[in-house]
Subunit: 608 residues, 2 copies
Amino acid sequence: MFRTRTCGELRISNVNEEVTLAGWVQTVRKFGAITFVDLRDRYGITQLLFGEELNALLDSNPLGREFVLQATGKVSERSNKNANIPTGDIEINISTFKILNRSAVPPFTIQDDTDGGDDLRMKYRFLDLRRNAVKKNLEIRYAVNRAARNYLHDQGFMDIETPFLIKSTPEGARDFVVPSRMNPGQFYALPQSPQTFKQLLMVSGYDRYYQVVKCFRDEDLRADRQPEFTQIDCEMAFVEQEDILEMFEGMVKYIFKEVKGVDYIDQVERMTWEEAMWTYGNDKPDIRFDMKLANLKFPAHSFPAKENKESLIGGVNFKVFDEAETVIAIAVPGAAEYSRKQTDELTEWVKRPQVGMKGLVFIKCNADGTYKSSVDKFYGEEKLKAIADHANAKPGDLVLILAGAEERTRKAISDLRMELAERLGLRKKDEFRLLWVLDFPLFEYDEAGNRWVARHHPFTSPKPAHIDTMIINNPVIDNAAEYLRHPYAGIKANAYDMVLNGNEIGGGSIRIYQRELQEKMFAALGMDEEEQKHKFGFLLGAFEYGAPPHGGIAFGFDRLCAILGGSESIRDFIAFPKNNSGRDVMLDAPSAIDDKQFQELQIKLDLK
Amino acid sequence: MFRTRTCGELRISNVNEEVTLAGWVQTVRKFGAITFVDLRDRYGITQLLFGEELNALLDSNPLGREFVLQATGKVSERSNKNANIPTGDIEINISTFKILNRSAVPPFTIQDDTDGGDDLRMKYRFLDLRRNAVKKNLEIRYAVNRAARNYLHDQGFMDIETPFLIKSTPEGARDFVVPSRMNPGQFYALPQSPQTFKQLLMVSGYDRYYQVVKCFRDEDLRADRQPEFTQIDCEMAFVEQEDILEMFEGMVKYIFKEVKGVDYIDQVERMTWEEAMWTYGNDKPDIRFDMKLANLKFPAHSFPAKENKESLIGGVNFKVFDEAETVIAIAVPGAAEYSRKQTDELTEWVKRPQVGMKGLVFIKCNADGTYKSSVDKFYGEEKLKAIADHANAKPGDLVLILAGAEERTRKAISDLRMELAERLGLRKKDEFRLLWVLDFPLFEYDEAGNRWVARHHPFTSPKPAHIDTMIINNPVIDNAAEYLRHPYAGIKANAYDMVLNGNEIGGGSIRIYQRELQEKMFAALGMDEEEQKHKFGFLLGAFEYGAPPHGGIAFGFDRLCAILGGSESIRDFIAFPKNNSGRDVMLDAPSAIDDKQFQELQIKLDLK
């Protein structure tokens, strides 16, 4: 061992001990005949003092930043203590030292506020990983991993490894494929998730399964997506939805406690998908703050049970609202005093192509009880007050109203709500609010194909009350314009998402476990018998031999770690991430392969 | 939840409790008006008693093997107790039940001694996994996984995930490659091991890393190799060989204790590679039993320090020995009474192509102190006794002698030793003997290329005393016939293998951490500067910026589990293994992919 102690552990109680440390030179400070060196390792930083007698040696072997140093000496009390670091009370009075390795000048500084840009830090990721900020992220990641495993183990779950070289069954996302040399012309696929395997394990009787496992999706990478990502993947047999919700909110609370020291004692809130869309405009609402949607106008078929408030905005011949499918307002707390410049800027914000609205209507609810709006021409104070009241606005608030097509408008008002919350500091990094979103639609309508696609995946069970609807009815959509009236449009899934601070961190469902229902589902998605057999014959086969009721969930491990670390970028929480083109710039991968490899695999390029 | 208790937990103390169980029907036994059902789940088997009043229901809904059943009733004491199972004192007097799912008749019986052949069980792996024998294996696997993680965690190791989509750097084994759609014409490779990443993590200062991680090698599959396999992968910084040996024999002992309840308190034995080859004929000797090799004749350059015993066999004009490069004997305990038929059979055994010897010489050391051999024509009793004494034979033993070329003969006598140990019952499943094999040669000679190849991998450091030999000398072999006299032939690696019961379960080394030495190593292996930069530029780059001394080890997790489970077949310890052609017969993978996938990936088939 090159050291007897680490750079993070020595305290005043260790004074006079003889120790050997090894680590990296963080800084060198020369003061006349003595030299101070801050030595860094994984555990901390300790100050080394090189006295006069070593100075000649240091002069002939000058230390530079990031040199690897082994040094032996006596722990002494510092005259000039540093309260900012745990080892700040002591220093090591060095008697002997050895340079274990030299370092070139790093391309950026190894400190919290580095001068290195993203590209440079990715190319030299091995140096970026030395920075405290990145190290803390990986430590959180390991702590989450460890906590999840401990909880699941204590609950009787078994880690069972599922294969990585599987069968390509493109469904939703694209598979990465792997040519098989031993089976020329054939390919493996890398798993998008261990979904079918964990279901088979339930059929096999393993009843509580988990895995912290890499998954792969060959999708065009939006910011903050990775072609390989990690899931905490779980499945249970002989359970109903309620059992799963309790088990896994238990897990997340345990992780909060272990990793962040947070006692999350509140019951986790629950909300149907419909309620989430109605109240927040999206299916993963951030409920740390209010600003709930005030639905003024909306298509009846979207929310059949909800009350229409068109009377509040109609009858004044304001065409923007009259011609819109949907009109929704939010009340921004304390923003009535926004200047013209500020409201103009918000209008520009909603008109950006990413949001895509034509404009923004606002009502200022003045502190004195008066109202002032951008549509005073159409609406008198009384009408403005009625709208503002419906939006729950208080004096001093600013009501913002968007109008347009249902889907776009709802998404836009949701985006606007999040943007304003961000600006108002309502999205606090150290506040955690969990939410279960339930009762998703089982199917989504695919306009291009005039057919149904699975919203979650084809193994998700309908709600028990909706199974008959699915069995009895023909999935074919005769009248495309009226697809919302098709019985399948109303079928709800026995599915659940866990949402944390406006991010989906986990999702799952109770699965289909009856062969007939699974076949009906595949058929509803447009898969004929042959295709079913080719792609999922093994699963249908397994359902023949006593499949138990089962369900499960998968957590996006990278994202969960990022949120717990106070970030929304998963890349910062992955040791060796890829960039937005799926490249590892440090390795320079992917790259060309050689002729011998092509020959052995019996494939060739077919570049366009 | 479909159950209140499991099928493994009820005891006499639970009598009179009302319980609901759910599981699979193992057997149905009808006795007149009552029916007994053995219900099975992951935790055990419990007997259900269906009384008269339920019989009509059972008649109309007959239960079959592997039906999924939910049943409620009262725990009662059994009149006819079964001492073989933990729940054997009780049964459940069923009041209500529900068939949760039916089952077709399984293609083989779900019990310890199944009637299913290998192929059938692999095709229906989800049923095979229900068998107790297979379940026990996966439970051992999880227990080993858990124990290894707990030990490493307690020692300050961090689990850090390394990427799966990396760069192809074929070196030794073949890479599996993955075409990149976003980077047409380029390929990722799946990692053969996280070797370079764990070294980078050491450069980054993470100092104690571990991962239980899938690795991939596209090799022709011998029996009991898998294209994807799992390693317990570890690396440490600021350590020397001794630190690693202590840390990881600690880990294996901890696993023994946790998984098998075995207190392995002995110091783990150590042996140099040379000593292992000399004494056992291979580098992973099974030291549970003796039968050490008696080297009678051998090439001086193979074991320069060893004493030649040619005088024992020479001078009698026995051409087989006189013309052989190597002659080695072993003494088989208590086998002097072998019949002619038995010695003939052993002779046939060594003449099989897998062993490849021309014949077998034997000496019977009779209980009365006389000797009888297959070469009595050449050797008198005195000479036979001298040979037998050298082989440490006692009265009653049988000395077997092989002669031929050094490499083949040594391997053959080693194989023969193992075969006889197996036959004599010396390889006991419940006895565990660990061994460190040290000081491997750093290089192996590649005859085809007349060049050096890395025995372990190109990141292994030479022994400190041999670094200069490597730096100073030119790796080029001028005279192929005399390659053994090249200075590189004598360079020993700072490497170690852990051997358990004759199986290599782990191996590793102290790594090179100096850029110059690493470049010299790559050059010695015939890699020019351009190739070095292309393949390992990132690692050489990392060594520029303060790489610490480091080393590590990787354990073959599948094999370790198999040995602890008393088996030598890793396949039995993998949930979803592949067959010898690399196929998953359950999934029917690999398989063809569709045209759209080829087009998107911009590759096509090039079948010969």
